[in-house]
């Protein structure tokens, strides 16, 4: 049983890490450190396995140049001006007859969900509460907490947290992030965002489908 919980903790940690990475992809323009990491050996194997094709230019270009290129791409794709892909749930989701605008009912629902879980928005955070990076970061934080609870042998809290994550994924990102990613795949000029969108879409679906099973497998005992 302990092994099962170990697995749950390991799994939650892994999920937290992936969500953390994806949140960083969409939060802001990439930093040189970020790009260096993505180019590094940690990712080369899994990218090859997954068929993530960032293109040779991505690897050949110096980080500083690549950063500038991707900053322009990020602005074009997600910021505007002009036609862009708004990275906010309320733009994609109609709730209560809303009109798909900024700070719609979906924004409020996300904000309340996050606040009900005990988190708040940083004072310095100037974005909107339902930005894709916020939703991914929230899942990162929940999965991280869940992992800790498994390690503390607090299966009840860990289970509850799993339920919270399932509920959040079902009510929020799974309803719009795949469509958001599809738009990116269609509009991206640089392979980086196109491929990251594919990874995001794929992982979200994978997590969504797999969580019920994980929850059912939850066990008792100490964390290794």
């Amino acid at each position: 049983m302990g092994t099962a919980r170990n697995e749950m903790a390991e799994n939650a940690t892994a999920r937290s890490q992936v969500y953390g990475l994806l949140a960083a992809v969409f939060r802001a323009e990439p930093t040189e450190v970020f790009l260096k990491e993505i180019k590094g050996s940690h990712f080369s194997k899994v990218f090859a396995e997954l068929g993530v094709e960032l293109g040779q230019e991505f690897y050949d270009r110096p980080e500083a140049e690549l950063q500038e290129q991707l900053a322009v791409e990020f602005t074009r794709l997600f910021i505007g001006p002009g036609p862009h892909i708004s990275a906010h749930e309320s733009i994609f989701i109609d709730l209560d007859g809303s009109e798909g605008e900024h700070w719609g009912p979906a924004t409020v629902a996300v904000k309340k969900f996050i606040e009900t879980a005990g988190l708040d928005y940083e004072q310095s955070f100037a974005g909107l509460p339902d930005h894709v990076s916020v939703e991914l970061e929230f899942l990162q934080r929940l999965a991280e907490w869940e992992a800790r609870k498994w390690c503390e042998a607090d299966a009840e809290s860990a289970d509850a947290c799993l339920s919270v994550q399932m509920k959040f994924i079902a009510e929020h990102p799974i309803k719009w992030v795949p469509e958001f990613c599809a738009e990116i795949i269609k509009k991206a000029e640089q392979p980086f965002y196109r491929e990251m969108a594919k990874v995001t879409r794929s992982f979200l679906q994978f997590d969504h489908d797999g969580m019920a099973t994980m929850n059912a497998d939850a066990g008792q005992g100490a964390c290794a």
Partner: protein, 841 residues
């Protein structure tokens, strides 16, 4: 991409974990605190109880700036309504005000600072931080300031009023530039110049609550007036409750004309003539009232008797017979007589004018004719008449001024372009920058303004803004990507007016000042920042300090130092109630009659003009020198004006509160005008281009509709759904002569440009003109206004409501046909004078 499985998921996770550990996640995350989930899987469904807050604020949809209440639910602005405690608006707002909700949430909104990375106008941008943007701006401005050339920084604003303007001017004075452009000359500058030359001030108001008769020349009062809601409802009430007649002279059957007692069609540019003709009737039939003549100067003689003045006015208007006016204006002589008699015989009467009257060649003189008509019937600043507007006089903190404070002389038009550009010549700013003879700014920053759209010959303006050799560095503060911000080097995301602090001061129809504030209803979206918050930040980066830390602080300080507001409870009172007025104040009528004590130290009587003035205050060395030079001959004497001798009594009369040096008399005979070669007395001057028109020529006139401003509303879907097309109005006779039928595509051609639009053949416009509203025909500004955004792509297109957008037309912009040409008196743009040819496309 291959499918994820547990194995590659774990590999991905391992790589991700390593990357995050190496700092790839960045330091700025969105969420703070720690997870607090209760044991036992408690249902944490968010509460369904929605909190609604009602917050007093103020509109900015147009210059009227109505006091409002914003209703906020779950942090989202849901609805805007009038503030029932406002004595100005009486709790009413218009459609534009209600659609303010769209201003905040339209998905095309600019939410982050942007730096151009491609060629100017190439639409290639990179998001930058506020720090990066302000550091770059500060470095450029500091360099200019340190070099002793702060004037090479130009700030050009569209709509700035009250504390929004005050904080900007405070920063600019502390920085040191006087190169500050505005937009009044494309709005109504000639009207103000005409008034300033007479009663020494401007912003006329109309006492509809007490009037018995109203005559309107060229004002769309019920749709778009400068003080729309506060005045329109009072005029409607007067008409409905008291049967007050309203006669509207207009080239077009506007909604105002349609609601009037009678629409009197008139040819363009003839309003002043008809007013002078009404004066002719009134003087000849002895219907004038003597009361105001003692305050009037109608010949060069400052001391003429009332009887002499009456005779002089009679003589001056003798040639403007109703028959002559009919011949020129198309208004039947009998109609002129009938309305003139009604106006003069009414116990009180209001005379309204606006762009239809003033935005012509010699428009300022047409306004002077209007003032003459009001004065001879004693309807100037009297109960029920045309009165001097009363606004709130706020006190505000002031930062230390820069040691070097100067400006480029590019605000007042080309040399000789305008005699009295007291409200500047904004349409000539960009052409002057191109010309270069008066210098060029190195940094050009515009805000709440869209020069490439709102001026005449706007295509040429766009080319100037695009040219980096003429305009090396450009900054736009904006909420929307429009024709001009597309040409900026840096775009700073401004807040909407519903996300910021201000104190407000617009004219109050009850003639009792209303003090009111604007406060944020919601947190600014994204990284939008109020300019009043940016100024102190930018000042620090350049190396000086302002006396307020942000806009809220500025408003707070103002509330605590403004008499009346302070005693009522200051900032906290204003936050709670939004509006304040002195309940014991009496309506301010007849300020000119106030007697003045002239026994003060240094006060002397100028024998020539009858002005009491304080030579000490004027900075003259001695009384003897003051008397020798005289009031008119002393620089700065205007500021030392005390009173006017009116039949032996010192009265406040009409002080020279603006740039015109004048006595306290209403200068219907104006030395200022005569000295510049313009008619000293109001007269009729035909528009020169109209005199030379060929038989196929028409006059282009433009106008506003109720649901749009010039350039700040087309992204508002509620408004654009109502009005998204602007066909050309053309009279059936005029249309038939050109073989044009209703709905035909037509080409309108001027000497500088052409446009294709649709004909709206209607009796609602006089023959010989074509009328096109100017709010539409946007190239940018989102899908609702321009239709240019692919409905799948994102931005406005990501708005789910876009699928409900049923309209396909987005109108055509007429400004490309209209040259930037000025009234030689005031420098106001001559919107209504352009000669065009119209034919089937």
């Amino acid at each position: 991409m291959n499918k994820l499985n547990r194995r590659n998921f774990m590999t991905l996770a391992g790589a991700s974990g390593a990357a995050l550990a190496a700092g790839a996640g960045g330091s700025e995350q969105a969420l703070a605190g720690s997870i607090k989930l209760q044991k036992g899987g408690r249902d944490f469904s968010p509460t369904t109880m929605k909190e609604r807050k009602a917050i007093p604020t103020a509109c900015w949809g147009c210059v009227t700036r109505d006091a409002m209440i914003g209703f906020v639910e779950d942090g989202r602005l849901k609805k805007l309504d009038g503030n029932p405690n406002s004595i100005r608006t009486m709790g009413v707002i218009c459609a534009k005000a209600q659609a303010g909700v769209n201003q905040v949430y339209f998905p095309d909104r600019i939410l982050y600072p942007l730096r151009r990375v491609g060629k100017r106008g190439e639409h290639k941008w990179k998001r930058v931080s506020w720090d990066a943007a302000l550091d770059e701006i500060a470095a450029r401005l500091k360099k200019l300031r340190d070099a002793g050339t702060p004037e090479k920084f130009m700030y050009h604003y569209g709509r700035h009023k009250a504390s929004q303007a005050a904080t900007m001017y405070d920063f600019m004075a502390a920085y040191g530039t006087k190169t500050i452009g505005n937009h009044t000359s494309i709005c109504e500058g000639s009207k103000w110049v005409g008034q300033e030359s007479l009663w020494g001030g401007m912003y006329d108001n109309w006492d509809y609550d007490n009037t018995e008769f109203v005559v309107n020349f060229g004002s769309n009062q019920f749709e778009t007036h400068t003080n729309h809601i506060p005045t329109s409802q009072r005029l409607i009430r007067a008409m409905v409750d008291r049967g007050v007649p309203l006669y509207t002279f207009d080239v077009r059957l506007s909604a105002t004309a349609a609601k009037s007692t009678e629409w009197v069609p008139i040819k363009p540019g003839k309003d002043g003539l008809v007013m002078l003709s009404m004066c002719n009737v009134i003087m000849n039939e002895g219907l004038y009232r003597k009361d105001h003549f003692k305050y009037m100067r109608v010949t060069a003689d400052y001391h003429a008797s009332v009887d002499d003045k009456i005779a002089a006015v009679k003589a001056s208007v003798a040639k403007f017979t109703p028959e002559f006016a009919e011949q020129e204006s198309g208004v039947p002589a009998d109609k002129i007589k009938q309305i003139a008699r009604g106006f003069a015989k009414a116990k009180s009467a209001c005379l309204i004018t606006y762009r239809g009257t003033c935005m012509h060649y010699h428009g300022a003189d047409q306004e002077r004719a209007a003032m003459l008509l009001a004065a001879i019937t004693n309807n100037l600043d009297t109960k029920g008449g045309r009165v001097m507007g009363v606004g709130a006089g706020w006190k505000a903190p002031s930062s230390p001024k820069a040691k070097v404070h100067k400006g480029l002389n590019i605000k007042d038009g080309f040399p000789g372009e305008a005699a009295f550009p007291t409200h500047h010549v904004s349409q000539s700013v960009l052409p002057l920058i191109k010309d270069g003879q008066l210098g060029r700014p190195e940094v050009y920053w515009w805000s709440c303004h869209n020069p490439a759209y709102v001026y005449g010959d706007n295509k040429a303006i766009e080319e100037i803004m695009k040219d980096e050799s003429l305009m090396p560095f450009t900054i736009s503060s904006n909420i929307v990507y429009d024709e001009s911000s597309a040409l900026a080097d840096i775009i700073l995301p401004d807040v909407t007016y519903l996300e910021r602090w201000d104190w407000e001061d617009m004219v109050s129809p009850p003639q009792v000042a209303e003090f009111y504030i604007r406060q944020p209803l919601v947190k600014p979206l994204g990284e939008a920042r109020c300019q009043g918050d940016v100024w102190p930040d930018l000042a620090k980066r350049i190396g000086f300090e302002l006396v307020y830390k942000d806009k809220e602080d500025y408003v707070r300080q103002s509330c605590e130092m403004t008499p009346g507001v302070k005693e009522a409870g200051g900032f906290e009172y204003m936050k709670k109630h939004g509006v304040w007025h002195d309940k014991s104040a009496k309506p301010n009528f007849g300020f000119y009659e106030k007697t003045v004590d002239v026994s003060g130290d240094g006060v002397i009587l100028d024998e020539k003009t009858g002005v009491y003035w304080n030579w000490k205050k004027a900075g003259v060395a001695s009384e003897a020198e003051a008397k020798s030079k005289g009031y008119l001959g002393t620089k700065g004497a205007k500021k030392a004006y005390v009173a006017q001798n009116i039949e032996g009594t010192a009265r406040s009369a009409y002080p020279p509160n603006t740039k015109f040096l004048k006595s306290g008399l209403l200068d219907f005979y104006s030395d200022n005008f005569a000295a510049k070669g313009f008619p000293a007395f109001p007269t009729y001057t035909p528009v020169p281009e109209h005199e030379k028109m060929g038989k196929d020529d028409l006059i282009l006139t433009t106008y506003k509709v109720a649901v749009h401003t010039h350039s700040r509303t087309s992204h508002c879907k509620w408004l654009t759904e109502i009005k998204h097309d602007n066909p050309a109005w053309i009279n059936p006779k005029t249309a038939a002569e050109r073989g044009i039928a209703d709905g035909d595509e037509i080409k309108v051609v001027s000497d500088i440009g052409e446009m294709t639009t649709t004909a709206y053949v209607t009796e609602g416009v006089v023959p010989g003109i074509v009328a096109i509203s100017y709010h539409l025909g946007r190239r940018y500004s989102g899908i609702y206004g321009s239709g240019n955004s692919d409905p799948i792509n994102g931005g406005a297109a990501a708005d789910r409501d876009a699928k409900n957008k049923w309209w396909k037309k987005h109108g055509n912009h007429p400004n490309a046909l209209i040259p930037n040409w000025s009234d030689p008196i005031s420098g106001a743009q001559r919107w209504m004078d352009t000669v065009v040819r119209v034919a089937k496309a």
